[in-house]
Amino acid sequence: MKFINYLESITGIGIYPLISLIIFFGFFTVVGIFVIKGRKEYFEYLRNIPINNQNDQL
């Protein structure tokens, strides 16, 4: 059976692709903006957490 048959049998199907697109686009836009706009010192601090344990003996 063609794909379209499955789609047509779902009520209000038109909204689904729109929602999917918005979720996808929105999600990666938000992550993208965060990563681009984030401050350098902030990321520097974070990435050094594992090796900054100068208090540890080991």
Partner: protein, 707 residues
């Protein structure tokens, strides 16, 4: 600012390290036995416990949940304390977690050897163990979140995000896929049937790879690679994108295990699209791991730990490139059901999981025991013998898989299939032998490591309580420079967990809901009827013996398959299959259209001595089926359970099922007698024959009525 003194708990890390080593050896040994059984079928020993169908689930479960599972906990318990500058939340919970997990492993091994299996790959464990796993997993999560909430470091390093996503997603996958109706203490039926069961199972199966074998180990990569190289991760920005993109996309990719099957086409397409997209985050992660070593490659030459880590990350990159390629429908048409898949997963399991674990252990043990590694030379030898083992394992199977598939598909100019299935099996022998040699080398390397670690432990002095100090968190948060909005999630583990759960739940919901709710996804076939009680008992024997580890029940719509096996499989044929038994590998031929192909006596002789009916067969013999009685007492509860699952047996059928069963069994016994075989009608072989002769019959019936 006042510094607080506290102690890291190294003891729990040590225990998990030992368990990782021990179960690693056990799991690899089981794998080697399974591999050798394909070369020397005599190693099946003609007893139930050592046949391939039971050894294979022992191997896969041992390697995934015992070896890698303990490896995860080893790494998490070490890194979590240090990344958060605090001791684990509760020593008591740590202990329960450790011993609970080991108990599960032991019970799992025993129950799988005994044939207690749900028949769903990597989820074979029966319902009491499923519950135990859930409880111990909750203890792990409780301990982890308790630790996070008590932390002295405000920011959660990216490794911890991966741990949190692992915890929440594995919980979701395990619970959803394990919903089953108990029939007895060691037997249950999957709540889902056929196509739905397949979708749920491979949503689970694929994401067991994603969230048990990948995300926790990426967390370990983000901690231990910077530690071992003594330099920070290449790009923290990239790690954030890596994390969110990976967990968001991975969860959708499950249906790529079901291409060209009876699963609705749109679900297959969805699986392909997301699988291809997965290259981006996977390679983002790989590049981030490898580039962490930029400017430090000279260290890789010296440091055996870095060698292991580099090969691990490289293997991850290769496996995650190959995965999307295998998900393309045209490639999958060749690769599916062959040893190509086995080669693919072992690049991941031996290379990525194995080598990362080895690297971490070589780094951890000398640290915790305040000593040097006993022998660097031996560790270097381990590295080379292990690498050689991986190559010798994978390359023959790539070759063999492609060769076998092309042989399956080859036609003569006259339009006949060129090869019997058995021809393709005999051609595999040298490749299986080479694979076993590769596996042996890898195991030898692991034994060398065990020796090296024992010696290191003996010469060192263990620091069980490692002293540390850090400032307590202040109530008020003062941002580094300008405050950033992402801290809403960055510093809030519970929010992070909830957002992760939402992100991973979306894919599953969109894939399942239509197949459960939209009727046209699984068109019903009126001639498909529930199994008779005897067939049902036979089917349970089929599941118990792990027949699905070598035989598929899924004819794909290719000319090469319909010519060989018959009509391609339809979604509506499987509506009473709790669980589905489509299989993922054809070491032997497909069985979906087996019914009526051979006389009953053929099956009887074949199960007693496969070689007598199909010369050169590598199938193990099953002599005990001829001796053991069918468990008649379970019939009532089995029919009842099936009725609860919606299988339309008539009202009160369970009361008269035993009569029907006896009648059908007597018919088969009489049939066998005609061919000179004397057997009692109450033997397991009779039930199994009933089931095998039923396979594919419903559709054949429909065709004849249509004519």
């Amino acid at each position: 600012m006042e510094l607080e003194k506290f102690k890291y708990d190294n003891k729990i890390v040590k225990w998990f390290t030992y368990a990782t080593l021990f179960w690693g050896l056990v799991g690899m040994l089981a794998g080697l036995l399974a591999a050798l059984e394909l070369v020397f079928p005599v190693l099946n020993l003609e007893i139930p416990y050592t046949t391939f169908g039971r050894v294979r689930p022992v191997h896969t479960n041992a390697v995934i949940f015992a070896f890698v599972g303990n490896g995860i906990f080893m790494g998490v318990y070490y890194s979590l304390q240090r990344l958060l500058k605090t001791r684990m939340f509760s020593d008591f919970l740590s202990k329960i977690h450790f011993w609970g997990w080991q108990l599960i492993i032991v019970l799992a091994a025993i129950s799988l050897f005994l044939g207690y299996s749900t028949g769903k790959e990597y989820a074979e464990l029966e319902w009491p163990l499923d519950i135990l796993i859930t409880l111990v997993w909750v203890v792990f999560g409780w301990n982890m979140f308790g630790t996070i909430l008590r932390r002295r470091e405000r920011h959660l390093y990216v490794a911890i995000w991966f741990y949190i996503a692992t915890f929440v997603t594995v919980a979701m996958l395990h619970i959803v896929n394990s919903i089953e109706i108990p029939v007895s203490f060691w037997k249950s039926y999957s709540w889902y049937a056929g196509v739905q069961d397949a979708l749920v199972q491979w949503w689970y199966g694929h994401n067991a790879v994603a969230f048990f074998l990948t995300t926790p180990y990426l967390g370990l990569m983000y901690y231990f690679v910077p530690k071992a190289a003594n330099r920070p991760v290449y790009s923290y920005r990239l790690s954030i994108i890596h994390f969110w993109a990976l967990i968001f996309i991975y969860i959708w990719a499950g249906p790529h295990h079901l291409l060209y099957t009876a699963v609705p086409d749109w679900a297959q397409s969805l699986g392909v699209v997301f699988s291809v997209m997965l290259i981006a985050p996977s390679w983002g992660g790989m590049i981030n791991g490898l580039l962490t070593l930029r400017g430090a490659w000279d260290k890789v030459r010296e440091d055996v730990v870095l060698k292991f880590l580099v090969v691990a990350i490289t293997a991850y990159g290769m496996a995650t490139f190959e995965g999307p390629m295998l998900s393309l429908k045209n490639v999958n048409a060749i690769s599916h059901f062959t040893d190509w898949t086995i080669a693919h997963v072992h690049v991941g399991a031996l290379g990525w999981n194995g080598f990362l674990t080895f690297g971490v252990i070589y780094w951890l043990i000398p640290k915790m025991f305040r000593t040097q590694l006993y022998s660097k030379k031996l560790a270097n030898m381990h590295f080379w013998i292990g690498t050689l083992g991986i190559v010798l394992y994978a390359v023959p199977l790539y070759w063999a898989g492609i060769m076998q598939s092309l042989m399956w598909k080859e036609f003569t100019p006259e339009g006949q299939l060129k090869w019997q299935f058995m021809d393709t099996v005999t051609k595999m022998a040298p490749f299986y032998a080479a694979r076993a040699i590769g596996g042996t080398l890898f195991l030898v390397g692991a034994v060398m490591m065990a020796y090296n670690i024992i010696k290191t432990v003996k010469q060192g002095s263990f620091v069980a309580e490692e002293e540390a100090e850090a400032a307590a968190l202040t109530k008020e948060y003062h941002a580094h420079g300008k405050d950033h909005w992402h801290r809403w999630i960055e510093r809030k583990p519970i929010q992070l967990m909830i957002v992760s759960l939402v992100v991973v739940a979306v894919g599953g919901i969109i894939e399942f809901v239509p197949t459960f709710l939209v009727k046209s996804n699984i068109p019903t076939i009126s001639s498909v009827k529930p199994y008779t009680p005897l067939e049902l008992q036979g089917r349970d024997i089929y599941v118990r013996e792990g027949c699905y580890t070598c035989h598929s029940q899924m004819v794909r719509p290719f000319r090469s398959e319909t010519s060989r096996y018959g009509e391609y499989s339809k979604a509506g044929e499987f509506v009473y299959d709790h669980p589905f038994q489509w299989g993922s590998k054809r070491t032997g031929p497909d069985l979906a259209r087996l019914g009526g192909k051979y006389p009953d006596s053929w099956h009887y002789n074949h199960m007693l001595d496969p070689g007598s009916m199909s010369p050169n067969s590598i199938m193990p013999p099953y002599p005990w089926l001829l001796e053991d009685q069918i468990d008649v007492s379970s019939t009532v509860s089995k029919i009842k359970a099936m009725k609860r699952l919606g299988v339309p047996y008539p009202e009160g059928y369970e009361e008269i099922a035993a009569n029907d069963m006896e009648k059908q069994a007597n018919e088969i016994a009489a049939n066998l007698k005609k061919d000179g075989i004397q057997t009692l009608a109450d033997r397991e072989i009779v039930a199994l024959i009933a089931y095998l002769q039923r396979l594919g019959k419903d559709i054949k019936g429909e065709k004849s009525t249509n004519k």
